[in-house]
Amino acid sequence: MLDVSDLVTAYGKIEALKGVSLHVESEKITCLLGPNGAGKTTLMMTIAGILQPRRGSIRLGGTELVGLSPARIVARGVALVPENRLVFPQMSVLENLLAGAYQRSDKAEINVDVERMYTRFPHLRERHQQLAGTLSGGEQQMLAVARALMSRPRVLLMDEPSLGLAPLVVAEIFSIISELNRDGTTIFLVEQNAHMALQVAHQFFLMEQGRITFKGTPGQLAEDEVIQRAYLGTRRTAG
């Protein structure tokens, strides 16, 4: 579905992505793991069109996304739930959802989708007139996900949705991720919480210092000793 190949993105002279290639399979959950500063957010922002790559390509189905504006990329069916959520704090929950549908013009269908979001995220229905900035962190994350879904994406990108949230809320977010995927949404997820990711994702990539250093299934990931030590916190055995 989404094919990234040989992607290089730089901030000034410093290359944050040094030739990244990966594949996000249709209707699956693909997870990108990696330490802070590896370049995960840079990759997400490049796919979404906020950052321009030096070279490489990003294809959705058969269409090249590199060079398109963020608005065009949303219209093609890619929506990003950004790191730190970035809800519109001075707008109501409902207005945030409507902003998520900005590229669409099918008014009746938009209202149907708002209703769907309220059903999936009951908290949002209760607070639909409340300013988004006054929601709790978990609720803001739900809103950010719902806002992204309002564009009816073919691929949903999520950048560390569990960041800074309490364990119970994290569990809720992950159950929503599974649910969305069961309903047919393709998901490309960035996480540092490898334990949670192992429970939902079908395919893993590991990124370190701007490069993909591992690719595999959950089984392969759990077996890899280096990854176990670094990301799953397994105690180093003596000898």
């Binding site: 608005a71 730190n84 970035l86 809800v87 704090p89 001075q90 902003a99 900005y102």
Partner: protein, 298 residues
């Protein structure tokens, strides 16, 4: 007592022009969180366009008004393309400094085209007045007040009831997130900039019609009055812009009455200073945030 009320009425009338100027400023500042010092000079360019049509082609008030508004909007777009569109997020100072450079450029351009210091500008109601008991109101002043209230309402409705307004408020909230939901941020900013300059053009036309003359210094005057009114009323607040303008006008007329014309501006600056110290966000606004692109805390 009659004097006090008459002065207050006059202050409100004069102040409505400040309010209009502040309204345009507020739209730019609200959306971009950046100061456009060339705001007044853009309006002055519109004024010169109006005066040229008036002098050379005998244009009537309506055509002149249209020319001022259009000229201000075009000059505004020119400023946006040069000083604001190319600047990266967080480069607010660069935008401000370059808008100062364009200010000088626009002023020089006006002097080159029309080298005399002042040029006549067509009046709107030739100073005719309405009487309300013991009080007098100039008709052109009344038009100014109606325009200020009407345009402020229009801006508010646009912001809160239209798709374009939703886009602008999204940009105000988080420019990156606005991109991510598919808003064409650059185009929306350019449109907002043009609309704000056009509002300034309305203010410019009305003030110039009262003054019946235009000078290159009008740009500086418009930037100053608009800026002070916006600061008093509240950074980024639409009602604040109008209230700030009216308040500034009332303060000025009373200062002039009680202390003489030489104190008029002095006292206005003292009040501005007091506001900056006591309420940096102005009457209606929130205190300015460091930068619009600062990400929210997790």
């Amino acid at each position: 007592m009659v004097d006090f009320f008459q002065n207050t009425i006059d202050g409100v009338m004069i102040g409505s022009s400040y309010g209009l100027l502040a309204l345009g400023f507020t739209v730019i500042f609200g959306v971009m969180r950046r100061l456009n010092l060339s705001y007044g000079p853009s309006i002055m360019i519109g004024g010169y366009l109006g005066t040229v049509l008036y002098l050379n082609h005998g244009a009537g008030p309506l055509v002149v008004a249209g020319a001022v508004v259009l000229g201000a909007a075009i000059a505004g777009v020119y400023v946006e393309r040069l000083c604001f569109a190319p600047m990266k997020a967080g480069a607010g100072i660069a935008s401000m400094v370059s808008s100062f450079a364009i200010w000088m450029q626009l002023e020089q351009a006006a002097i080159l085209v029309l080298p005399r210091h002042t040029y006549p500008f067509p009046p709107l109601a030739t100073g005719a007045t309405l009487e309300f008991g013991p009080f007098f109101v100039r008709i052109d002043h009344l038009i100014m007040l109606v325009c200020a209230l009407g345009l402020a309402a229009a801006v508010q409705v646009t912001l809160y009831r239209t798709r374009f307004g939703l886009a602008l408020r999204a940009i105000i909230g988080h420019p990156v997130a606005a991109h991510l939901v598919g808003i064409n941020v650059r185009r929306a900013m350019l449109l907002a900039f043009a609309a704000a300059s056009a509002i300034g053009g309305v203010a410019g036309f009305l003030v110039l019609a009262v003054d019946q003359q235009v000078t290159p210094m009008f740009g500086m005057w418009a930037t100053l009055k608009g800026l002070i009114a916006m600061m008093i009323g509240g950074l980024g607040s639409v009602p604040g812009a109008v209230v700030g303008g009216l308040l500034l006008g009332v303060i000025e007329t009373h200062s002039q009455w009680y202390f003489g014309p030489q104190f008029r501006d002095l006292i206005a600056y003292v009040v501005l200073f007091a506001f900056l110290v006591a309420r940096p966000g102005g009457l209606f606004g929130r205190a300015p945030s460091p930068d619009i692109t600062t990400p929210q805390k997790a």
